[in-house]
């Protein structure tokens, strides 16, 4: 009995705020003084020891898992390095570490624009507020190295005064506007997914909105299905890069988690991202939101089992069986796409002309877009298995259609046999096959991490000390 009284007391405990901070406060530990439960659980996103069958909190080198990907991205920076993400705690560390941002130093700019920072830190809304949106995006990624130092956190999702959920990124607002929807009208339950949709969505850089700026845009004007997005890009004549082997005008899909989620039964039943990835927990007579955002399979009891009364093992098996079934066919599609690029390259090499290649290249673009859309969202296979399957199927049909045409074309060039499948059994072999000098790239990156990054972080902390005098 006494424990009940005690726990009630804890809950009723009248609290008067002792800490105040500005609306754009980017330092999570400051918010944490007010909300220790949420802060402490949030900091658990630093853990990296959970591994599920395909996901988990450890970094997974996807090019090692499937070296085919390197070939699929030949000519694009993803072929150097692509990992499955880990917790929000690592957002800064990981964007610094990835080979995709290059090895900038005095006089050597990063190959990427500042736009890359957008989804990595609560320093972003702070800076955007200061300089404006387009100015934030302007310039290469290294130019904000000392300004952006706090990993994703409270200010990305919360209003500092009311603690309400808020949208801190203009891109989502603009995307809603483009769809003719008013984000002010959404229900609170939708907000529990929309805060995630600020980042966990497909995006591209538009160079036409503001001269000289890679402006971040979510391509939702026609809607959020894969076909809607594709028609958007086609209308724009957009491509992310030209494939180094097939010369196809490619699209890169990036983590369309929210878009795919929308098509699944959980979304249709009103289940939000937070319901599974940030379930309630109770501690000391108080129910609060578990901010340890992670794979729900590391927390089946609070996420799935509140709604489903099956055994933990059975629920996990449900997830795995959907992932297995979809991966089986996604792997087939991946292999077919390798063949597409190999065969297209052979056709060019034997003198094919643009006219002959046009349909084929368009097929490759569309098929790989479908593959990437399903592969880039690590939760897709569970979030919406039927839609994910539908997309993969479409991809296979299109890829093979391109190969039928390629077979005819190659035959007309006197080549009647199937081209040999390249030996790309490891990441190293695949990267060599597409002509990357990884030794060099890794060495430069090493120097950057050793010399430049500590300088950035040091300067950043000093700046903060100056800016936020207690």
């Amino acid at each position: 009995a006494s424990s009940i009284i005690e726990r009630r007391a804890e809950a009723i405990f009248a609290y008067t705020p002792a800490v105040t901070f500005p609306p754009d406060e980017p330092r999570n530990e400051v918010w944490g003084e007010l909300f220790p439960r949420e802060y402490n659980s949030y900091m658990k996103t630093s853990e990296t020891d959970f591994k599920s069958k395909y996901n988990g909190s450890a970094m997974v080198d996807m090019l090692e898992e499937s070296p085919r990907m390197a070939v699929l991205w030949a000519g694009y920076s993803f072929s150097k390095d692509y990992n499955q993400g880990r917790g929000h705690y690592y957002s800064i560390e990981d964007i610094q570490k990835t080979l995709r941002t290059g090895a900038p130093d005095e006089g050597v700019p990063s190959p990427q624009p500042n736009t890359c920072w957008t989804c990595k830190s609560p320093d972003v809304p702070r800076l955007m507020n200061k300089s404006g949106i387009a100015e934030f995006f302007r310039g290469t990624w290294d130019t904000k190295g000392t300004e952006i130092i706090n990993h994703i956190g409270c200010a990305d999702c919360h209003d500092s005064k009311t603690m309400n959920l808020r949208i801190s990124r203009p891109t989502l607002l603009e995307a809603f506007e483009a769809m003719g929807r008013d984000i002010e009208e959404v229900s609170h339950q939708e907000m529990r997914s929309l805060v995630c949709a600020q980042c966990h969505v497909e995006y591209y850089f538009n160079k036409e909105i503001v001269e000289g700026v890679d402006y971040l845009v979510f391509p939702w004007r026609n809607g959020t299905t894969i076909e809607d997005l594709e028609s958007y890009y086609d209308e724009l004549g957009f491509s992310d890069w030209t494939h180094a082997m097939s010369r196809a005008p490619m699209l890169k899909a990036q983590h369309p988690d929210y878009e795919i989620y929308l098509t699944g039964v959980h979304a249709q039943r009103g289940v939000s991202c937070a319901d599974c990835h940030m379930p309630f927990i109770s501690e000391g007579g108080q129910k609060f939101t578990d901010h340890h955002i992670q794979s729900p399979l590391n927390n089946v009891a609070n996420s799935c089992q509140v709604c489903h009364r099956e055994e933990t093992q059975e629920l996990i098996e449900d997830v795995y069986s959907r992932q297995d079934k979809l991966l089986e066919n996604r792997n087939i599609l991946e292999t077919l796409l390798v063949r597409c690029h190999v065969e297209a390259k052979a056709a060019w090499d034997r003198g094919a002309d643009e006219r002959q290649m046009k349909d084929i290249l368009n097929g490759i673009r569309r098929a790989q877009w479908r593959w990437d859309f399903t592969a880039a969202g690590h939760g897709n296979s569970f979030h919406s298995p039927v839609e994910t399957g539908r997309i993969i199927t479409g991809g296979i049909a299109i890829a093979q259609e391109a190969r039928v045409q390629l077979a005819r074309l190659l035959s007309s060039q006197g080549y009647f046999e199937e081209l040999p499948y390249p030996d790309i059994s490891t990441k190293a072999k695949a990267q060599e096959y597409i002509g990357l000098d990884m030794e060099m790239i890794n060495k430069e990156k090493g120097l950057f991490l050793e010399n430049v990054v500590p300088r950035w972080m040091g300067k950043g902390r000093e700046r903060e000390k100056r800016e936020y005098v207690e």
Partner: protein
């Protein structure tokens, strides 16, 4: 007065009317008696199960952790004030009785929107302490309202009636009917033996 006098039937009809009224009154009393109507005023769950079609709800409630602390009315009747409580009860009760007697009950009963709100507010009534955080209260009420605007059983899908909802969902559950557990003949015998 004139209104009432208009209701009084003409002389030669009076006797049959009185007899008929007697029959109706008797029937009404009988109906109330055999359907255990007086029990509707109380809070006992057995009341609700009077209608066998409520058996699934009774059985599932009876096997839930809420049995120990809640009766049907703790959830299904407003508790903001006493008048509202009985008004709501009467209104609901009359509709249920009508539908039941007319045999128009659906196979799968769905709670009505009005009833939903009532139940939802009752969940909050009991579990409020768990749901409120004084630190947040200090920053405004919004986040609390948001947190409570979703039906609790969106997540707590089994509370308290389980996930299978149909007249036939618990066919073998034992559901008590209101009344004494001692049969009348036994009562008689016992009281007789006491007299002796």
């Amino acid at each position: 007065m004139r209104f009432i006098s208009k209701l009084i039937p003409p002389e030669r009809w009076r006797f049959p009317v009185i007899v008929l009224m007697g029959i109706f009154t008797g029937l009404a009393v009988f109906a109330l008696y055999i359907s255990n109507a007086p029990s509707y005023l109380g809070d006992k769950p057995e009341t609700c199960v009077n209608c066998h079609i409520m058996a699934p709800q009774y059985a599932t409630w009876y096997h839930s952790s809420h049995r120990e602390i809640t009766h049907c009315n703790d959830c299904h009747v407003p508790h903001n004030n006493i008048f509202n409580k009985y008004y709501f009860k009467a209104k609901d009760g009359l509709r249920h009785a009508t539908i039941f007697t007319l045999r128009r009950e659906p196979q799968v009963i769905f709670i009505k929107d009005e009833g939903r709100d009532v139940v939802h507010n009752n969940c909050i009534r009991c579990h409020e302490e768990l749901l409120t955080d004084s630190r947040l209260l200090a920053r405004g009420r919004d986040i609390h309202e948001f947190r409570m605007d979703r039906e609790c059983w969106d997540c707590h899908r089994e509370t308290p009636h389980g996930t299978v909802n149909s007249l036939s969902s618990v066919p073998h559950a034992r559901v008590p009917l209101p009344g004494s557990v001692v049969p009348l003949w036994l009562k008689d015998m016992v009281s007789k033996s006491k007299k002796q």
